[in-house]
Amino acid sequence: MVLGGTLLFIVGYGTWRTRTAGRTLDGYLLGGRQASWWGIGLSIIATQASAITFLSTPGQAYADGMRFIQFYFGLPVAMVLIAIFAVPIFHRLQVFTAYEYLEGRFDRRTRTLAAVLFLVQRGLSNGLSLYAPALVLSALLGWDISLTVWLIGGLMIAYTVTGGSSAVAVTQQFQVGVIFTGMVVAGYLLVHYLPAGVGFSEAMQVAGHQGKLNLVDFSFDFKDRYNFWSGMTGGLFLALSYFGTDQSQVQRYLAGRSQRESRLGLLMNGLVKVPMQFGILLIGVLLFVFYQFNPAPLTFNRPLLNQVAASPTYAPQLQKLQADQATLSVAQRTATQQLARAYTSHNPEQIAAAQTHRQAVAAAALGLQARAQALFKAAAPTAEAKDTDYVFITFVLHYLPHGLVGLLLAVVLSAAMGSAAGGLNALASTTVVDLYRPAYPRATDSRCVRVSRWATVGWGVLGIGFALFAARLENLIQAVNILGSLFYGAMLGLFMVAFFLPKIQASAAFWATVVAQATVLLLFWQTDIGYLWFNIIGCGLVVGLAWLVQRVVFATSSPRPLSPKE
């Protein structure tokens, strides 16, 4: 009831509240440019924090600790830089999309290239945002995942087509409130469910002993995805690209009623994002501690477990492993309780002995996990091997009271739909403003709104198609970030050339972007460089190549003015 009521409320409220938004293109795509700073801030947070954030991030902390937080260290710096450099330019020119600016600065070909790169990247990412909530419902209700993707995608398309940007913004404000409430409730209950005598402090010590509180690592490793340096460089470049050149975010602050509101909205995100991610990762660590005291399944991926259990060949081996797991769970619980008691006693000898015992049990658990993984690989070679995306939702389904299960599922669904709707809205804007209008300059405003609605439907259906393949990806949030990093670097480089290197002309910028993008894709395919570095590599390549090509090939031609009205 809670779930169904929320879905109906979102669609109904979005439609009713924004029923007049589709009269003009400005109203449909940018809500008439009337948003306040807090509305922009909440909208930016909601667009980035989709269901994937809520489902996948705790799972990541459960398996890998909290080091993922370092990925976000570059974000506040990026917010400041965008507020200083990009916001004034976009606001002064009153553009609909970020790519529109590139035509005035370079030429239409460069604008189209940037728009197409965005459409490819965001079109695919939006599909992943749809897959996440479908995963939840299929695990909970036993629904077919394809059917679930179509159901959620269809609802989201209907609501975005009707209300446009205003509907997206209005519902996102509610969604952020619900997300924060859900996070706090989940965190509180996780601590509340720990055994008597084990409080938050002991839980942190147990997690720390198991290496889960690995928040900051200052050592430098080029192949390491998450350390301080990759966060402050790769993370910074990714955030600069995402918030500075990705239309799904640029559209949020272009809707601001003034430059001041847009800047404050971005800075609000800069202040909130790191603590928010810390909170979500902390839930993952608390989940890890919770499952030290409670039996965890061999895999949280229930469909995979059911598949292996139904196999006549592999079912007996699975039963044997499950029996071993049950025995080990008891040993794990005892060892962890001893460790928690030792921490309370503050006795160094007792702590050392308990840690050694706990370490031995952890080693046995690792061995069992390796055997289980080998079995799953043999029994279902094409199935998703990692189960981190299922960890949080398994806890919600098995341990929370029914009303709260409905509430948390509603949180996940509303977040997913809000985020994907923001992306869809941006895809439609870019399609119409950067591809359709230049091709049909005489198209009226109402025709453009109509085309925007159809573009929303088209991109929505394409996203659904891609979502159906998402089940094979390693980890959802990583998949989204990898996809972003492959395309964002070149895009950021193009905008940096546009903003800061006025002597570089269109052809140099265009060909530098094409070569840099091809090089990044080749490097991703052929090397094992950590994906965050592709943001820097792509950006650096565009800037360097554009400078070189301009000096060597186009050295004699005179520079083009920035824009007739700049």
Binding site: V80, F218, S258, R437
Partner: protein, 42 residues
């Protein structure tokens, strides 16, 4: 094509430098706190 227009912004007396330092200062404090937690629970 949509004609690119320029817009005159109302006078803005906000102390942006203070806002930027607030955001960067908060980040520095957070990194410091996280480094302390990492060291303390290692």
């Amino acid at each position: 094509m949509h004609d690119t227009m320029t817009k005159t912004e109302p006078t803005d007396s906000t102390n942006w430098r203070a806002w930027y330092w607030l955001v960067l200062g908060a980040l520095a404090a957070e990194v410091g706190f996280f480094a302390y937690l990492t060291h303390f629970f290692a």
